[in-house]
Symmetry: C2
Subunit: 593 residues, 2 copies
């Protein structure tokens, strides 16, 4: 069975060396987050995820969820108990506000527990993950009464939350939603319709499930401007928050999927279910986007998390498996063959994974810190800059980390040879589970469109120009440092490529929107590579400062060099591709495929 | 349920326009292969695979194979009957020699039925596929008596064949084989040992199974030089070829795998089973390599075949699924949204697939033709050249077509969005089935080592220099043709890149073998891209000649342009990567991963 060991050392590096969280003591929530507390939390989370959640990962895959004839859903053996421990230990409350009973710790710290949970057991992690997203949406869009009624128990994980967007005829294009909401004299609505692919739509982990449902109020405008958001609990609450009657909603079936079998993907039928409007009528998408943006960062993290756990097991296998001799002479002459880690092509796959994972981790947490600063930084300029970055980077993190994360889980499987293809070794589960991350919360193609169509253009391009200026500052400050030279050079190169791509888009994407859409995938990849190059430059800088204290810092520099030599050069290819524009892509007539 | 429609039009293009098989009438076997016969065969094969095999693909995945307590194995519902039809229709005999009861048609034509079978039902296709490989090995290495005893019924498919190489402690490194062969007074051997991952090791399709087994004769030299090949039938034959007693071998279990569930992957236990030496003692690897080389081309074809069937379904989905409006204005104003094929990012994914599939198909059949010519061309120089190409291109076809084929099945899944992740749509099965092609018959890393370590160097590099000269000839002949200019330019560029990579390898790979191994993956990719660019140039040339006769030729030129603009540029990246050499790959100490 595969193992998972939380990457504690690397997380400490991220929090203490790279992001230097201790330097944000003037930001609310951070004053409590001392290095000692951070270390204690991530070590504890590492233990819990490794000891309790990881052993259930394979069970979850093999058993999947079962729907009983009464419409109830049974999660895999052990999930119920593990979830109870998860709640009892207070993990969901870590970064919830103090006024909701939470610990009020930084969002960026909560990302570490999300990463570990996803690595250990992605299907399990989705239950609390979606609850957290639904909680945020309610806190953002709900009335004070709704916040008081649902907030505390969702914050603690005692109740779960779900997102109900997709219907059979609409996934990406939510303007096509047909689910109806009919106003009732008491101010509530009767919700009727079918939602599909609802993660955790029904389960046996929590005593209540708070569904957030997109629907169309009778007579609302056509399309996306007529969509409203409703809160529709499985059990209707009395005014004092006690569980009341069962609502008219049910799980009509479970989806059979490629992976994440431990998570119940439900068809949800709303048969005149009682719901209440969240926020304003016809403005449901606005609140839903709050939820989705946070969820997207979480999905990017899932891609990274699957790559991490797959990598750990690939390293173990490469050390244990004896096969052929090193080309440079026997490395383990006392054994019948050498461990395959001596072979350069195996080492190439492992380094690809390591360089991706560590760079992606830096990028994800660096962005997550913006998630804190956008709300809490004392200086308004810092808040604005963090909000800009958060908006700009979210689609990049979602798509880049899942595209590459999936490739890396596949590389980890490949290191295993034939064993990788068998169920027994568990590698193929990582690949199957990871595959969904390229699709849900907006396919990666949609992320790329969001980046070029919305995020780049926002406020006259302020976010991306701020980013370029930050890169220039780094280059200017460090270009004479011989130890950093390879990193600065790589950053100069990718930055110029990204600027070239950006101005190509500005010149050609405005006159023909198809050019922007055609270039979007490669632009996002180019953006991700540039951001990762910057992360590696930042990591190299702090590692050089600490070199000698711990061989860990030498490893960082070696891994960074690998990134610069062997991964950053991919940026040029993406620039070349994006510059072809729409012509070659759209030239073949629709009926000639 | 996904559909499969054999790509008849493209195969006709390959056989008649690109390869011009009618021009080889002086080659034995080709004189019968008139264009009409070829068309009739591929149309008939298209019907059979589409109507009979494709509908069983999902059944095979869902049911898998079952091992009964007596060690017998039951294949999925319908497989037995379909196999009987396959044999009754004479498909296995298509390109078997006339003296074995076959039709004696070209090998390259047989590739078309392999492609279709693999697209329609890869798990099913493996049963006859491996039989064909085992047949070839016996015909190459066996005695006349063995050929007479086993040949005809293996040729027709009445009996099946298997390859028994892998043991728990050895996959790639067959020198570690422990299975023992003890000589008996009657000239036979008693074979004892365990083999794993034996495709079709046991099944209910054929009345006998002829196992080819690698084992070590008592007292043989250590390592790979002490491995012999044995033929070990499930039922021992009387001298006149009648089925006799059951041999002491059995299926000890079935492997649970990521995909190809319809194929029985067996643990095979040989308990003093009676076997006969094939060829010389201790030279078993030589014969096995004959079998593997052919099998490797077949595996490359499987990668292409999965990409083809996945692509067809992605096109259907992209035409049917209505979601959002085209950025340039509604394309289907009468419908609630436009079909997603109007969106450039969807079109990009479809064009990626189409340009890969058609280029890969040309490359695979062009190489398969060498498989005929190496044995049958009247001119000795032509035979030598074809043999050189066959040896050189086989690892490239195997690894390049499966690496990319897998990526393309993933793109086809991605076109489906959430539906792609569900079992219902069948796309995820294509991905799961395809995944093994990167691993079996030698992992793709082993193919790359075979290319740089063995195939490049053979005969002083004669094969690769012949290939370069052929590219130069094409460039020289066509560089002033304005219609071909983009293709000639792309070919010039990739050819120079491949030459640069080749001389880098010659300079750096000899002094440090780790450099060669470190560069091997990227070198193989660069090689594949160059060969595909050449294929597209050849296809463009014949398409220009026939332009106007059929819009098919215009489509070819459009697709070729896409390849040149958007895929060929990947070659530069692989060159940059291979030139880093082993240093960044091997810099991190083994214990620091």
């Amino acid at each position: 069975m595969p193992r998972y060991t939380a990457p504690i050392r690397d997380l400490k590096f991220i929090f203490h060396d790279l992001l230097a969280l201790h330097s944000y003591a003037d930001v609310p929530g951070f004053e409590e987050a001392t290095p000692d507390l951070i270390d204690a939390i991530i070590e504890e989370a590492g233990k819990f995820t490794g000891d309790v959640l990881a052993p259930l990962n394979k069970v979850g895959d093999e058993q999947g969820c079962r729907r009983l004839p009464d419409g109830s859903v049974v999660t895999p053996d052990g999930f119920r108990d593990a979830y109870q421990q998860f709640v009892d230990n207070g993990w969901p409350l870590l970064n919830k506000p103090v006024e909701a009973g939470g610990q009020g710790l930084p969002y960026v710290l909560g990302m570490a527990t999300s990463e570990m949970t996803s690595s250990a057991n992605m299907a399990f992690g989705m239950y609390p993950g979606l609850t957290s997203g639904a909680y945020e949406a309610l806190m953002n869009g709900g009335s004070d009464a709704q916040k008081a009624l649902y907030g505390p128990k969702m914050a603690s994980g005692q109740w779960a939350g779900t997102m109900n967007l997709t219907e059979p005829q609409c996934g990406t294009d939510l303007g096509l939603i047909k689910t109806k909401a009919v106003p009732q004299p008491d101010g509530s609505y009767k919700i009727t319709g079918q939602k599909i692919w609802i993660s955790g739509g029904e389960q046996d982990l929590t005593e209540n499930i708070i569904h957030l449902v997109l629907a169309r109020i009778d007579g609302a405008p056509e399309g996306i401007k007529g969509i409203s958001l409703f809160v529709v609990p499985k059990f209707i609450l009395s005014e004092d928050g006690q569980l009341g009657p069962r609502n008219s909603l049910s799980c009509g079936g479970l989806e059979e999927k490629m992976g994440i079998h431990g998570n119940a993907t439900c068809v949800m039928n709303y048969d005149g279910a009682t719901g209440w409007l969240v926020g304003e009528a016809n403005k449901g998408m606005r609140t839903m986007f709050v939820m989705m943006n946070e969820a997207r960062l979480g999905v990017g993290m899932q891609g990274l998390a699957q790559a991490e756990v797959a990598y750990q097991n690939a390293v173990d296998f490469a050390r244990d498996r004896l096969q052929s001799r090193a080309l440079t002479g026997p490395a383990a002459p006392d054994k019948p063959a050498d461990p395959i880690i001596v072979h350069p092509d195996v080492r190439r796959m492992l380094m690809d994974q390591k360089a991706f994972i560590e760079g992606a981790r830096a990028f994800a947490y660096w962005t997550a810190l913006c998630g804190d600063l956008q709300h809490k930084a004392p200086d308004e300029k810092d808040r604005a800059r963090a909000a800009d970055y958060m908006a700009l980077m979210t689609p990049v993190i979602k798509a880049f980390l899942t595209d590459r994360g999936y490739k890396m889980t596949n590389e980890a499987l490949q290191v295993h040879g034939g064993s990788g293809f068998t169920r027994e070794w568990g590698m193929e589960q990582f690949v199957r589970d990871c595959r969904i991350t390229l699709i849900y919360e907006g396919t990666n193609g949609i992320q790329a469109l969001d980046l070029v169509g919305r995020k780049l253009a926002a406020n006259g391009g302020r976010a991306v120009f701020t980013f370029f200026a930050e890169l220039d500052d780094f280059i200017g400050l460090h270009q004479d440092d011989p130890d950093l030279q390879i990193f600065v050079e790589a950053l100069k190169t990718t930055k110029v490529q990204l600027e070239t791509g950006t101005s190509w888009l500005m010149r050609n994407g405005m006159t023909d929107f198809n050019n922007a859409a055609a270039a979007s995938f490669d632009y996002l990849q180019l953006f991700g590579l540039t951001a990762m190059t910057y992360m590696w430059a930042l990591m190299a800088k702090v590692s050089l400062e600490k070199k000698g204290l711990d061989p860990f810092y030498d490893d960082k520099l070696v891994t960074g060099r690998y990134f610069v030599d062997r991964i950053a050069p991919e940026a040029a290819m993406h620039l070349a591709k994006l510059q072809t524009g729409a012509a070659p892509i759209m030239a073949l007539a629709e009926d000639r495929f």
